[in-house]
């Protein structure tokens, strides 16, 4: 059995070392090799009944190899020593990325199983914005563990015809067990074994950062973002970008609102809120007050010395279109007809004269309202521009819908739909409206008057500078995902009924009894995962959960009937988790062992009530910065644990969100069980490519059902 594992690793190495070639080829090779090794393999096409699609039996080895090849690609950009992946789009544009999701999509894989995995990753990362590289790593690690175990005990049941089927069924069984275990117990385990070492980010503290000198929660948010950007953009710029993101969020917070609302607002409007500028180093990125409308003035912008500028938003044409499609204008009917209908009797010149006159009325109305800026969603006629210039108004044409809706939200003015009915409520008051030169383009820069409801919000836009379009794109993606990550950090996770009922049971368990004794952990933290928890980065989560799982395994063996499965499952999961810190410290294995030893001591020390320890630690760490909070307030936030551990951690370690990690783990386990349920791949041949594309686009659950027997 170990021989086979070696083959897997050899293949893995080949996948990593090959100089040039596609991952798709590597995947192809692995499956061919596996089938030629005599494990059943694919049925020769010639032997099949005509019309039947070629069938490829999928074995555990194939699955493991496939995922390992993906892992070898992702590993290049994983961890603190990881680098960027340069890829070209089909348009020839060169892009850089460290985002796992982006790398995996760029591979354009053909192997159905690999595509299924990639789809799972994409699904996960669109929700949480993070964790796609870890996803592949964990999946590969779990698969290897399961493979190992399945190979050890293939003869559990004698009803299976071959060893491969027996292995496959053991693996499937294991995966289901792990998933079931995780769904039921994982949140409790995290709550007990990980959360006490983390700290809670509260939105109020983050937003109120200006009143608190010294280390505050804002630092925590920034640290969280720093480690996120470290994994996405590399070490050199993560501090700068995370500071910028924090500033942006502080400007955009809505007081008295849920944090998620504010984050969702930024997430929804990020397109309108950012301006990519290429040709400058990233350090030129900055926040600017107000909103940037990504269009230039269509008329020369008059420089006014006025304090405020009034603007109106138009969604349609100002000059009326007399003839809409389908309407017919008849010119030059006979004399009698002219008398009957005197309106339509004269030359075409009068029609255009009429439209111009109506336009003049509109402008007279606008002037009486004091409007000097017109924002328009469409391109206006030359007459409009000329009349606007004569009325000393400036016009901005073809403003995108997103930007207009953001403008309407921020200014409180409603867009004008009927240009003969412009009322004062359609007029927005701006503090200024001026051209701004960003990179190669001249845009319109507006700032809003402070209104009642926006006292706390200072509208600002983000200017993202990069060397080229590829880089600004990368930074924008990272920004978007960072906001998503924060959103899922604060997302409340529903508590299941089973976890509530288990509460009583757990209090009797000796292992966790100390948790209940901790005086400074508010009671709610013990039931389920509260939103906003973070834990030091660098493998802490994995180490702690590893420990908790092992503990759980031993306690299970004492009380439960299903000794073997429970023990096996939690041990397997515990060992699989260690791949993450192992890869983080991959540049020197010594560091990994050191880190592991360090955590052991922390965990042991932590089993005592640590409020006393904390006070001493606290003084020693933050002694110089005069932390101005009172004692009881301190204990409410779980700074304690973070500080205790932070001392022992690497000084530059950032933070990670616990809930993101939890969601990631669940997603990996779901993906694992679903890929192990596939046993056959049917290669169908369709005349039309569209159909095959459609099939590829259907979600993996569907393919799962189809291929399962």
């Amino acid at each position: 059995m170990s021989q086979r594992r070696e083959q897997v690793y050899e293949k893995l190495d080949q996948g990593g070392e090959q100089e040039r070639g596609s991952v798709g080829q590597a995947l192809q090779q692995t499956t061919e090799e596996a089938s030629s090794l005599g494990y059943g393999g694919s049925v020769p096409v010639g032997l099949m009944v005509a019309g039947m699609p070629p069938v490829e039996r999928l074995h555990l080895d194939h699955v493991v190899q496939t995922v390992c090849v993906l892992e070898s690609v992702v590993l290049r950009s994983f961890g603190p020593e990881g680098g960027q992946v340069l890829f070209t789009r089909d348009t020839g544009q060169a892009m850089l990325s460290r985002s796992g999701a982006r790398i995996l999509t760029a591979l354009r894989l053909e192997h159905p199983l690999a595509r299924m995995v990639v789809e799972c990753v994409l699904k996960h990362s669109t929700v949480t914005g993070d964790g796609s590289k870890t996803f592949i790593l964990l999946l590969a690690s779990l698969l290897r563990m399961i493979h190992k175990m399945a190979c050890k005990e293939p003869n559990v049941s004698h009803t299976y015809t071959s060893r491969q089927t027996a292995e496959a069924s053991t693996a499937r069984h294991l995966a289901d067990n792990i998933l079931a275990f995780a769904l039921e117990e994982l949140d409790d385990l995290i709550a007990m074994g990980v959360i006490p070492y983390g700290c809670c980010l509260s939105w109020e503290d983050f937003t109120a950062k200006k009143h608190l000198p010294g280390p505050s929660n804002n630092d925590c948010v920034q640290k969280l973002l720093t480690s996120f950007f470290h994994s996405r953009l590399g070490r050199s710029h993560c501090d700068f970008i995370s500071k910028l993101t924090c500033e942006l969020l502080t400007h955009w917070k809505f007081k008295r609102d849920q944090p998620s609302l504010s984050l969702e607002f930024v997430n929804d409007n990020l397109d309108a809120l950012h301006t990519p500028v290429s040709g400058f180093p990233i350090s030129c990125s900055r926040l600017i007050e107000g909103q940037v409308i990504h269009r230039d003035f269509a008329t020369p912008c008059p420089q006014t010395e006025q304090k405020t500028v009034k603007a109106a938003v138009f969604s349609g044409y100002l000059q009326p279109k007399l003839l809409n499609a389908g309407q017919v204008l008849q010119l030059g009917r006979g004399e009698q007809w002219m008398e009957e209908n005197s309106k339509n009797n004269r030359s075409i010149v009068q029609f255009s004269a009429w439209t111009e006159r109506s336009l003049e009325c509109v402008f007279a109305n606008l002037q009486s309202l004091g409007v000097s800026v017109i924002l328009s969603a469409v391109k206006q006629s030359a007459a409009v521009l000329s009349l606007a210039a004569q009325a000393e108004m400036c016009v901005v044409e073809c403003v995108s819908e997103n930007e207009l809706s953001l403008f309407a939200q921020l200014s409180g003015a409603t867009p004008v739909s009927d240009c003969w009915m412009v009322e004062p409520e359609h007029v927005a008051t701006l503090t200024f409206c001026r051209p701004i030169l960003l990179g190669a383009h001249r845009y319109v820069h507006v700032a809003f008057n402070d209104s009642e409801e926006r006292v706390t919000v200072k509208p600002c836009s983000l200017v993202i500078c990069g060397l080229g379009e590829g880089q600004t794109d990368q930074y924008t993606c990272a920004f978007r995902d960072a906001i998503r990550m924060l959103l899922s950090t604060w997302e409340p996770m529903g508590m299941t009924a089973t976890t509530a009922s288990k509460r009583t049971l757990q209090s009797t368990k000796s292992t966790y009894s100390h948790v209940d004794q901790i005086p400074n952990v508010p009671p709610f933290q013990q039931c389920g995962l509260q939103p906003g928890y973070v834990i030091p980065a660098g493998g802490t989560f994995e180490f702690l959960l590893h420990h908790a799982l092992l503990q759980n395994g031993t306690s299970c063996s004492a009380s439960d009937d299903t000794v073997t499965s429970g023990l096996a499952v939690s041990q397997l999961l515990a060992n699989a988790l260690l791949i993450v810190p192992r890869q983080i410290y991959s540049h020197s294995p010594r560091h990994f062992l050191q880190a592991q030893a360090r955590f052991q001591t922390i965990i042991q020390n932590h089993s005592h009530p640590f409020s006393l320890v904390y006070k001493q630690e606290h003084r020693s760490i933050f002694g110089e910065s005069a932390f101005p909070l009172e004692e009881d307030k301190l204990t409410k936030h779980c700074f304690t644990e973070a500080d205790v551990s932070a001392k022992l951690f690497m000084s530059d370690s950032g933070l990670e969100s616990v809930s993101c990690k939890y969601q990631l783990l669940l997603a990996v386990l779901q993906c694992l069980s679903s890929i192990l349920h596939v046993d056959t791949v049917l290669h169908t041949h369709t005349a039309l490519h569209t159909q095959s594309r459609r099939l590829a686009n259907t979600s993996w659950e569907d393919t799962d059902d189809e291929t399962e027997d």
Binding site: G16, Q18, E19, G21, V23, G24, E81, G82, G83, Q84, V85, L86, F87, T88, G92, A94, I103, L107, R108, G234, R235, S236, S278, G279, F280, P281, I282, Q319, K321, L322, L323, N324, A325, Q327, V328, L329, Q330, L331, G332, S347, I348, V349, F351, S352, A353, R357, E360, S381, A382, S386, L387, A389, Q390, G439, L467, G468, G470, D652, H689, T690
Partner: protein, 568 residues
């Protein structure tokens, strides 16, 4: 349907910087760009495989887009540099050579990618803070009281483009014109926000470069020579003019998508023409002397207006609209049915006819102080003329950058050598702090510093193309070049002065060859001698950004661990 095809899997390369093919390509690119650098740079002829137009150039903004590579690595560097050039118009080759040298040095030093990146970033921080600081030894404050330093700056830009084929007096003439035009675009007395004017460039082929001139105001093409005599009869006080942005050809564009049914006997054309002539009557009544339209004017209308002694200019084009509105204060009119309001009319002080070779042009003099000027560029043939036009636009941009930051850096390679000496000295003195801040060993740090300084020196050395050797003096750390064919006992005898012209050689000075080992020293500041002016100056803003772009691009390239090429 048939267009849909299966996407083929991407092509992957692991650890691209270890790949021999890619390294060879990078080296080739470096050699190519290096040979174009500076006033004595070699020209490159670009011609495509289907027998298209042959381009002769040494400018990065023309050369780099012509280099097309299937290698995304090359494209990454190329786009970075091009983006810099499109923002700052200068120092493109500097950035490219520095970036490629940094990559090469990092590879040679054998440092781990992450360490090299961190050291580079740290040293870039040192460079930028030194350059922006007050006591920077290679920075010169620009004096706007005299045009001398501006002309030097312009001349450095123009002389670094050998494709223009300019003699020494011609270079000086063009530099003066560029500065004159630039100064004309800066409004003299406008409080508050200053908006710069515009230079309209007109190129005339077949004349000597020394015939190039600059005029305040706008020059418009005058195809109809027969109106000339009338111009001369015009009174030379303020003339009224009108500017139309809508077409006056007799079409109606804003009617909508509906259908128009015409019945026999209806002549819409004449109806519209009647309307146009109504407009003409008003113009004549309002004593307009100049009638300009962005688009086409109906011939009958033109005839009518000319008959009333009005100068008519049609098909002006969109580019001249804005300068013309600024010059005359006219507001473009696009309505045909309403009377033209009095404030829409513009004013011109004077009109005159100017002839340049085959071109006859109408010169519109501004009524008051105005920031619009026209530059007439003459050159002997088309290629040189188009290059000269590009160069003048770049010079204008570089001069504009000085308004934001009124400084310049010493040219001729002196800034690079000075900076390298400073970085060496500074980082040696602060090595313990640096090592702890970067989290690397002292050896790694020293290797990184050496690579960075050598890359800077390599840029200075790239200015030399004739086999001569590049030197650096050990007091001020300026750059000197030593011709290859001169053999002398003492090195200082025929060195003359340094690259920027600030330091004269003296017998007790010591020199070292670039890219050789020398003991680190603190470069001494120059004595404040107002009589010695630098001969070569580089744009401060452009060079600073180029430095940042080069280091950041090199860092990006060093960070790449995997290549995925979509081959669809």
């Amino acid at each position: 349907m048939s267009r849909l095809s299966k996407k083929s899997p991407s092509l992957c390369t692991d650890l691209p910087l270890d790949n021999a093919d890619i390294c060879k390509k990078l080296d080739l690119l470096r050699q190519l760009l290096r040979s174009c650098f500076g006033p004595t740079g070699r020209l490159k002829q670009v011609h495509n495989n289907i027998g298209g137009h042959v381009v002769t150039t040494s400018t990065s903004s023309v050369l780099l887009p012509a280099i097309s590579s299937s290698q995304p690595f090359i494209n990454l560097i190329k786009t970075s540099i091009l983006n810099h050039v499109s923002r700052f118009s200068d120092c493109g080759l500097f950035a490219a050579i520095l970036c490629l040298s940094l990559i090469e040095q990092a590879k040679q030093s054998g440092l781990r990618g992450n360490v090299a990146i961190r050291v580079n970033k740290h040293l870039l921080g040192l460079c930028t803070s030194y350059l922006q600081g007050e006591d920077c030894g290679c920075k010169v404050k620009l004096d706007f009281c005299s045009s001398q330093s501006l002309i030097t700056l312009a001349r450095s830009v123009i002389s670094s483009k050998p494709t223009c084929v300019l003699t020494e007096p011609e270079t000086l003439h063009i530099s003066r014109l560029a500065v004159q035009a630039f100064l004309l675009t800066v409004p003299c007395s406008s409080p508050g926000i200053v908006s710069l004017g515009k230079i309209v460039t007109v190129s005339v082929e077949g004349h000597g470069v020394l015939n190039s001139t600059v005029f305040p105001g706008v020059l418009l093409d005058m195809p109809d020579v027969f109106t000339i005599d009338k111009v001369e009869n015009l009174p030379s006080d303020a003339l009224r003019m009108v500017l139309f942005s809508a077409s006056l050809a007799g079409d109606l564009s804003e009617l909508g998508d509906g259908i128009i049914e015409l019945h026999p006997g209806v002549d819409t054309d004449s109806q519209i023409l009647d309307q146009l002539l109504e407009l003409g009557k008003q113009v004549v009544k309002d004593e307009v002397k100049l009638f300009v339209c962005q688009k086409v004017i109906h011939p009958v209308m033109q005839q009518y207006l000319r008959g009333h002694g009005i100068i008519v200019i049609e098909r002006l084009g969109i580019t001249l609209m804005e300068p013309l509105t600024q010059l005359t204060g006219a507001q473009p009119v696009a309505t045909l049915h309403t009377t033209i309001p009095a404030k829409a009319y513009g004013r011109v002080r004077d009109l005159s006819i100017r002839t340049f070779g085959s071109k006859t042009m109408l010169h519109l003099h501004p009524p008051g102080e105005c920031a619009i000027c026209t530059m007439i560029l003459c050159h002997r043939n088309e290629t040189m003329l188009s290059e000269l036009k590009v160069v003048c636009q770049k010079t204008e941009h570089v001069l504009r950058l000085t308004l934001r930051e009124p400084s310049a850096l010493l040219g001729g390679g002196c800034t690079e050598t000075h900076l390298a000496a400073y970085i060496r000295h500074k980082s040696m003195n602060e090595i313990p702090e640096t090592v702890s801040a970067l989290g690397c060993s002292q050896t790694e740090c020293l290797l990184g510093v050496e690579g960075f300084c050598r890359s800077l020196e390599a840029v200075a050395a790239a200015l030399e193309h004739d086999g001569g050797s590049s030197l650096m003096d050990l007091t001020h750390a300026h750059h000197w070049s030593h011709p290859a064919d001169v053999l002398t006992e003492h090195m200082g005898d025929n060195l003359g002065s340094c690259g920027c012209g600030l330091v004269e050689s003296s017998p007790n000075q010591k020199w070292t060859y670039l890219n050789s080992n020398y003991p680190q020293f603190s470069p001494a500041p120059l004595s404040e001698d107002a009589s010695v002016q630098p001969h070569v100056l580089d744009s401060f803003t452009a060079k600073l950004n180029a430095l940042q772009v080069a280091v950041e691009t090199a860092n990006l390239a060093l960070d790449v661990r995997y290549l995925i090429q979509d081959v669809n």
